[in-house]
Structure formats: structure tokens, C-alpha cells
């Protein structure tokens, strides 16, 4: 979604596309109806007049669209104001040329019967003025619509950013505490924790919706686990089930797996005095990547607000990237809680 929007920065519709042509035809016909009705205020309404007006308006509209289609690449390179002016100019010119041609054709037909007939007629200028005003209004419409889309996109982007950067303050301060504790007794490990943390925070500041090889995400997860293991000691055990998986070929949106581990540890392992095991599984089946994290359940547990929020965040991010094909399932089994993420192995 984002990508499409980024590559075509122009605010004008693509006049070569079938859909746009249809819109042009319908728009032109509506204009023809309005013009005929306005004419009806001064004269009798007639089908013949409507047909003539339609023919003329369609002629102008379609040929302008054709010209704009030919000029597409050139127009899209122009700044917005110049592009709009150019479009208006094209339509005005087309109107002028066809009005003139119309008058000339009529002149040729009626020349013998009406000696007072003049090719230059006020009507040509009326046509040109109407064309200029209508095209101007349309440009304004496209412009406003584009602004709206931009705004929506910016909002979506900032949402993704906000969701991604939500590394828990708990984690930040707990890690700081670990570093403070280690500096005096084990400076080497303290140094390692600082490195791991920098890696994690750098990742959380990356561009929204950034996809990385699974190997990178797993590396982040291992660094994260390393820090938590220092904190929780033997209470935290992690089992990795990654057999038969090409970690470099499979991609994953950055920081998708790590928040699941964080959840499993904060809500699953930490409340257990004996601790427990977190199991991480990754596999590709039927062209879908499946990542799952499960943890032992504390005896007395409540579905935590923080957990729900993290799952919602991941769900939004996956949907933004992969659409409806991605999903996230959380379920409670007998003695463990499992979250599974499924998304297409290849986009598109």
C-alpha cells in the first residue's frame, strides 16, 4: 500500500487506465446533462440538443484525456501547480479547437443558405470559459483528495511507528538495573548487556514496516533473552525449534517475534517462583510462515491488559503489511499459553 503511494507522487489520475476513462466519460456526460438543462431555461428541451451537447463534451473530454495519457510521464514530473495549469490548458485548447472546427463544419454546411453566418462566434468563447472553470474545479478536487490520502497515509505510518517503538519501560529500567548491578561484579557481562540493549533499541527505531531476514530477528530475540536470563536466572529456560528452516530466506517484519517473547516472560515466567520454559517455533508450511511462542501458565492468571495490547499491535502491523492473509492466534492449552503468527512467505 505504502509503496504504491510512494512511487507515483502525482496527484492526477492515470488517464491511460480504463477506470479513469470511464470516470471521464461519466463526468463528461453529467456535464452534458447539466448544460442541456441550463439550456432548457431559455429554450425548449430537446433530445437533439442533448445529443449534440453530449457529442461535443465527450469529444473534448476524451481527446483531452488521450492527450494527457500521451503526456503522462512528462506531466507527472511537473510540480503540482504547473501540472494543473497544463491540464487546464490542454482542455481549454481542445475545447477551442473543436468549437472552431464545429463552427467551420457548420459554415461549410450552411454557407449556401445563410449569408450572415460568421465562423467567429461568441459561443466559442463561452465554451472555452466553461471548460476552463470546470477543469479548474476538477483540479482542485484532485488536489484536495490527494491531500486527504496523504494525511491518511501519514497517520497510518505514525501508528506503525508508535506501535513498533513500544519497548516496555519495564524492560528499559530492569535492564538499566542489571547493568548497574553488574558493573561492579562482572564488567564484561555488563558491557555485553549494553551492546545487546543498543541493538534492540536501534531495531525499535528502524523505519516502520521494515522486513528483515528471520535470522536477524532471531538474533535480536537471543540478545533479548540473554538480558532476561541475567535478570531471572535459572527461572527462565528457552527452547528453540527451528529445524529445517532457511533463516536467511524467510523474512519477517522487524520486532514481531521479540514482543511475543517479552509477553511470555512478563506474564508467563516471571510470576512463577519455579520459573518455566518458553518454546519458540518457526516453520514454513503451504507458503505461509508460522511463528509461535508458548509459555507455561501461572496457576492464577488473568488475561493481562498489556498482553492484549501487544497482540493488537502485532495484528495491526501484520495487516498493514500483508492484508487479510496474515493472522495472529492466541490460545490457552491445558498448562500453557501459545501465540501463533501466520503470514505469507512471499508478498503479493
Amino acid at each position: 500500500m505504502q509503496r504504491q503511494a510512494n512511487e507515483g507522487e502525482t496527484f492526477l489520475p492515470d488517464f491511460c487506465a480504463g477506470q479513469s476513462v470511464l470516470v471521464v466519460v461519466v463526468g463528461a456526460e453529467l456535464l452534458a446533462i447539466v448544460l442541456t438543462l441550463v439550456g432548457g431555461l431559455y429554450d425548449d428541451l430537446s433530445v437533439a440538443r442533448f445529443a449534440r451537447v453530449s457529442l461535443f463534451v465527450q469529444w473534448v473530454a476524451l481527446s483531452s484525456a488521450g492527450v494527457l495519457c500521451l503526456l503522462k510521464h512528462w506531466v507527472s514530473a511537473l510540480p503540482r501547480a504547473w501540472a494543473s495549469t497544463l491540464v487546464v490548458a490542454v482542455v481549454v485548447l481542445a475545447t477551442f479547437v473543436f468549437s472552431l472546427a464545429w463552427r467551420l463544419a457548420l459554415a461549410w454546411v450552411v454557407a449556401t443558405t445563410d449569408p450572415d453566418y460568421a465562423v467567429w462566434d461568441q459561443r466559442i468563447w463561452v465554451h472555452v470559459a466553461i471548460a476552463a472553470v470546470i477543469t479548474g474545479v476538477m483540479m482542485r478536487y484532485f488536489y484536495v483528495q490527494e491531500q486527504l490520502k496523504r494525511q491518511e497515509r501519514a497517520e497510518l505510518n505514525s501508528r506503525i511507528q508508535a506501535l513498533q517503538s513500544r519497548i516496555r519501560p519495564h524492560f528499559l529500567f530492569n535492564s538499566m538495573n542489571i547493568i548497574a548491578s553488574l558493573i561492579a561484579v562482572d564488567p564484561d557481562t555488563a558491557e555485553q548487556v549494553v551492546e545487546d540493549m543498543s541493538r534492540l533499541f536501534r531495531a525499535s527505531l528502524k523505519e516502520a514496516g521494515h522486513e528483515v531476514p528471520l535470522a536477524d530477528e532471531l538474533d535480536l530475540c537471543r540478545r533479548y533473552i540473554h538480558i532476561e536470563q541475567l535478570r531471572l536466572g535459572d527461572r527462565l529456560q528457552v527452547e528453540w525449534h527451528l529445524e529445517g528452516l532457511d533463516q536467511h530466506a524467510v523474512t519477517v517484519p522487524l520486532l514481531t517475534l521479540q514482543p511475543l517473547l517479552e509477553n511470555a516472560i512478563y506474564h508467563g515466567i516471571q510470576p512463577l517462583s519455579r520459573g518455566g520454559t518458553v518454546q519458540v517455533r518457526a516453520e514454513v508450511r503451504d507458503n505461509m510462515v508460522r511463528l509461535s511462542v508458548s509459555n507455561a501458565l501461572p496457576e492464577q492468571h488473568t488475561q493481562h491488559g498489556g498482553n492484549r495490547m501487544a497482540l493488537e499491535n502485532i495484528r495491526h502491523r501484520l495487516t498493514a503489511l500483508y492484508g487479510q492473509r496474515a493472522r495472529i492466534n492466541a490460545r490457552e492449552l491445558d498448562d500453557c499459553y501459545e501465540v501463533e503468527i501466520v503470514y505469507p512467505a512471499w508478498r503479493g
Binding site: 519501560p169 538495573n177 542489571i178 535478570r231 536466572g233 516471571q270 517462583s273 492464577q300 488473568t302 493481562h304
Partner: protein, 248 residues
């Protein structure tokens, strides 16, 4: 000054201990890895101040504090936390002592210096506010009772029933019974989802409820798993209890 340090993370505990012992006149008399241990160690070593982490497995800091208040000479309590928005808010409002992790040595010295005793009203309000905000249950995991052996902690999930006497409430669990100074009404409010009222003077644990039977004297009584005692069900509570048992 005798200090007890309680934190479930060993590294964190080590650091607090180190910092505390650098302060003149301070001795760390014991360490504990969870609330239960803190309560029992506090009884054994009688510290003047307890540095208590909030988030711990089994028994969290807030609950441990409430049991500590139940001891004969309650120590001053200073809560420690890395990040607990709700709790911090409540501590500030109710002037409860707390320290933020990583703990700063000057802050620690100052906190130990002025450590005042925590009172029950403060603690209860704080617990209530924290519980409300976090959608987590506000129930204690243990009931504490002062006995001749000192403070005894009874895990709530082991309790079979509460029975009111004249002035006290008897808490019955497999390892015996203890008397506590709380009312059945308070207990019912707190543990209403786990205990059911069967008589004006008794609450029984739903988890251990085995059956209801007619006694020879013509009244109903309940059997509880792992217990020979039979408890009388008052006539008024029979229909309600029947409904509860059908749902099980």
C-alpha cells in the same frame, strides 16, 4: 540499622545489599527472594527496615507488606520498583516510601534515614488503587495469623473454610487451624468468588466442596474434601448452595 532486602532477582538483590552496606551503621541482616520468604525472614531477624520489591512471584510486595504489618513489631517498609506507573502514583499520593530501580545510593541513604512506619490505612488504599487500575485481582494469596510461633502464613488456595466464633474467625486448612482478627463479611467481600456462605458463621471453599447431606438431626451439612469435619448449612442457605453445587 538492621535491613532486610527482598527482590526476586538475584543481581538486583546483590546490588541493593552492596549499596546499603556502604552506608554507615547499616547491616543487611537477611535477603529474601519473594514475599513469603521476606515475611518469614523478617520474623526471624527482626529488621527495622524492609526494602521490598513490588513485583515478585507467589507473593508480591504489597501483600508481603500487609503481612509484615501484622507482626508484633512491624518494620518500616520501603518499596522498590523499576517501573510501576500505578503503584508510583499511589505511593506519591499516600506518602508511602519508595525507591526507583536502579537505586541511587544517595536516595537509598535518605530513604533509610527517614524510613517511617507504614500504616494499614495507607497500605490498604494503595493496594486498592493499584488493584483497580491493573484489572488484576486484589485478593491476597495468603492469610496471615499471629500465633504463639509468630506470624503464620496460610495459602488461601489451601483453606477449607472460615468459621466465625464470638470475636475471632477460625481459618481451617489441612495443617491445622489459626485464628484471625477479621470479619466473615470482609473475607466474603475479598474472596467471594472462591468461598461460599453456608451459614451465618461459615464460608467454605468452593474448590473443596464435596457434597451436601442430610444429618440425623434433620439439618443439612456439607462434606469437604480431605477433611472429616461436617459443617452445618443453615436452612436459609440451602437453596443457594444447591444452585452453586449444580453449576459445578
Amino acid at each position: 540499622m538492621r535491613v532486610l532486602v527482598c527482590d526476586d532477582e538475584q543481581l538486583a538483590r546483590g546490588r541493593v545489599k552492596r549499596l546499603a552496606e556502604e552506608i554507615e551503621g547499616v547491616t543487611v541482616v537477611a535477603e529474601a527472594a519473594d514475599g513469603r520468604e521476606a515475611v518469614s525472614e523478617a520474623q526471624r531477624t527482626q529488621p527495622e527496615v524492609v526494602l521490598l520489591d513490588i513485583r515478585m512471584p507467589d507473593m508480591d510486595g504489597l501483600e508481603a507488606a500487609s503481612h509484615l504489618l501484622n507482626t508484633e513489631r512491624p518494620p518500616a517498609v520501603i518499596f522498590c520498583t523499576a517501573f510501576d506507573e500505578h503503584a508510583l502514583q499511589a505511593f506519591k499520593v499516600h506518602a508511602v516510601d519508595y525507591l526507583l530501580k536502579p537505586i541511587n545510593r544517595d536516595d537509598l541513604a535518605a530513604a533509610l534515614e527517614r524510613a517511617g512506619s507504614l500504616n494499614r490505612v495507607q497500605l490498604e488504599t494503595v493496594k486498592e488503587e493499584v488493584g483497580l487500575d491493573e484489572e488484576s485481582s486484589n485478593q491476597r494469596q495468603h492469610i496471615s495469623a499471629r500465633t504463639h510461633k509468630g506470624l503464620e502464613l496460610v495459602p488461601v488456595n489451601e483453606i477449607r473454610y472460615f468459621q466465625a466464633d464470638q470475636k475471632y474467625v477460625t481459618v481451617r486448612w489441612p495443617e491445622g487451624e489459626v485464628l484471625i482478627d477479621e470479619t466473615l463479611k470482609e473475607l466474603e467481600d475479598e474472596f467471594g468468588d472462591r468461598f461460599v456462605r453456608i451459614h451465618r458463621n461459615a464460608l467454605v471453599a468452593l474448590d473443596y466442596l464435596e457434597g451436601m447431606e442430610l444429618a440425623e438431626q434433620g439439618h443439612y451439612q456439607v462434606r469437604l474434601r480431605g477433611l472429616d469435619d461436617r459443617l452445618t448449612v443453615s436452612r436459609r442457605h440451602v437453596p443457594g448452595l444447591r444452585k452453586v453445587m449444580q453449576r459445578m
